[in-house]
Subunit: 405 residues, 2 copies
């Protein structure tokens, strides 16, 4: 059999995530990983979930097949979680998924065909880019004028794509503490983006895994709070535990119907055990207190990282302090290249994600993503110190290279 | 925004499963459901899994993100499970998935493009048909000459499809105790099918959720045992618990690489908690004894159903006694139509799945699927009694209708 004919054409769009490829090196002993976006080990309520899992697994039905849409009690409770983001929602419009990643995968299947254009922030979440590539979509990054998405930039890209005969399937956005940029879309920009998308007939898909992890400032209502036409993706991975793989999509009823069918075709149903455990946790445990404690934990880590960067990084390195979430997007001084620097950084004992991972078009090599969520404060300082040395050398080397001798 | 432009073209291929739609009515009080394919409640080791889940969830890492391919220890143990089917495999070639359903979904994405042809048994598993439809594939049912798949029938369909300019992506088969037909492919047919597929360059995808649930007769080695080029799908849903959603794909290395990328794009990773729980169960519990007990349990239920059918069904009703698995495929007497009969059957207090759910081409209305896995023996007898009355009336009505008056 000819192996070249073995694979589907579309499987050529599958690409290895730079982050996942980094996992092996980043977890070598002695390497401080500022690469991964995992929650802190201290953030996972292991004892509580161990007890709850033990209790629910013994319940009738917990180990059986569940429904494709997800447990009705959990869906009700998910609505109470979203209420903290200003969202008024009906449990009938919620679909429980294997993390928000699967929610995005199913939404993409329902809304987009191969060859369609999808708009995303500049930079954008690497996992979303992998999904879009797997589905054969063309990603167009909306230029960031310093405030994230803007109505005119969206309109221009949509106009250009449609002018070229392409269908634009949706705008994908992480409006709160975006991964990797840390950018939060302002209230006025939220209104502007929604108004523009409404005017030009563009579906909005809002991914909000970090919304409740605001470390300072006033919460802004989610896009879905202002516009029930928005498809909203949520996750328990950041506020509870990624290992249960429970996320969800909230969508207008006509979209929800197709999402349920897509979920059934993709996996029949989500784990009943995991769903009952999350439902029990939300119903019986003081989960908002837990989230409050997470904010304190991540606030301290963010402060540590920002302090270390300010103290240690060479001139010409820039960053914006994120108001929440897990990530800080670092702009390198002239001449330093994120990908080129990485092997050196690993040898020095620090890992990060080069900015190129967050663009579909090869841009981003002058940036890198740092995460302060997983390492303890002392490790953050150590990692930034190592990184600063590597960045300084890279910039110096470049300067020497460019100085006429 | 024009809602008609809202959805992807391909999402038109999403279809509601007749089985899932039946769940609501079939679970009404007083209705004996011979419809669902759930394991018996008694088959689920709730106390053992409750203890194990409580233990593993407290372990470091259980609640974190896992790798896209799945836990290495679990993959090793999965190889020992497959060894019971004659399969010699390397853990590097195993990908852990959200049940075998997701394994099939990912395999389909990697091997098939929309418009491709896929071959399946006649009848074939409804969940697979839903996946193929969601991916825009054309299903061709291989005619069953009484022994299931045959080499010449496969060759003829492939020749016809290729002659019409279509790519044939793969043959999907459930060789042991197929859902819904109960058919087990004989040893000689296995060899014949593999030889033919090799000769004509057709990938084989073997789905084997019931293989270890043989109720009588000698086990036959799986197709993958004879041919390492076969892609093999396995599941813990039938031998342990569906609610954990742990299945897997075993594939040749070059396919495995793409499956891992597809899994990451679809869900990042499977639940670490569920994976560690299954691994602990396989390593520490006498799981083969549990499987032996399941065989006893399902043997008794199958005997009950076959006995009741023999005693109660009207002349002209036919079935083949399955050597294992959960299902019995009933051929109705002339004039009885499975779909037409169903509302009447529900009123009489028995549910089944009309045969049409298992064909992509509208065939099957002269058959229905009965499951003996979930109801207790007394309920099986009661359900068959009710069903026999409905079948007799349907056949009688038809006879009356056709008798010249």
């Amino acid at each position: 059999m000819d192996p070249s004919a073995r694979f589907s054409n579309r499987s050529a769009g599958l690409r290895a995530s730079e982050i996942r490829a980094l996992f092996a090196v980043a977890s070598r002993p002695g390497v401080v990983s500022l690469a991964g976006g995992m929650p802190a080990a201290e953030a996972l309520p292991g004892q509580v979930l161990a007890r709850i899992l033990g209790e629910v697994a013994a319940q009738p039905g917990a180990l059986q097949y569940a429904t494709g849409q997800g447990d009705p009690v959990l869906r009700e409770l998910i609505c109470t979680v979203m209420a903290h983001e200003g969202v008024v929602a009906d449990a009938d419009d919620v679909v429980v998924t294997t993390g928000a990643q699967q929610a995005l995968d199913l939404v993409t299947a329902v809304l987009a065909d191969p060859g369609d254009v999808v708009l995303a922030e500049s930079p954008s979440y690497v996992g979303a880019l992998a999904t879009f590539s797997a589905h054969g979509l063309q990603v167009r990054h909306v230029p960031d004028d310093g405030g994230g998405l803007s109505g005119p930039a969206i309109a221009e890209l949509v106009g250009r794509a449609r002018g070229a005969g392409r269908r634009v399937a949706f705008l994908y956005t992480v409006p709160n503490f975006a991964n990797p940029s840390g950018v939060t879309l302002s209230a006025s920009r939220r209104a502007e983006v929604l108004a523009m998308c409404d005017r030009i007939g563009l579906q909005v898909v809002e991914d909000n895994p970090y919304g409740l992890l605001r470390l300072e400032g006033e919460p802004l209502p989610s896009l879905r709070a202002s516009d029930p036409g928005v498809v909203y993706l949520g996750s328990f991975s950041k506020i509870l535990a990624p290992g249960l793989r429970v996320g969800w999509a909230l969508a207008p009823p006509e979209v929800t119907g197709r999402l349920v069918l897509a979920a059934e075709a993709a996996m029949l149903c989500h784990s009943g055990t995991a769903q009952l455990a999350v439902a029990r946790y939300l119903a019986d445990e003081p989960w908002t207190d837990h989230v409050k404690a997470l904010r304190e934990l991540y606030w301290e880590r963010r402060q540590t990282m920002v302090g270390a960067l300010s103290t240690l990084m060479p001139r010409g390195t820039r960053w914006r302090v994120p108001e929440g979430g897990f990530f800080l997007w670092l702009s390198l001084p002239e001449g330093a290249r994120a990908k080129e620097m990485l092997p050196r950084a690993i040898r020095e004992g620090v890992a990060y994600v080069p900015g190129t991972g967050f663009f579909a078009n090869g841009a981003g090599d002058d940036h890198l993503r740092l995460s302060y969520s997983y390492p303890e404060p002392a490790a953050i300082t150590l990692g930034v110190r190592r990184l600063a040395r590597v960045v300084r050398e890279a910039a110096d080397t470049d300067r020497t290279r460019r100085t006429p001798s």
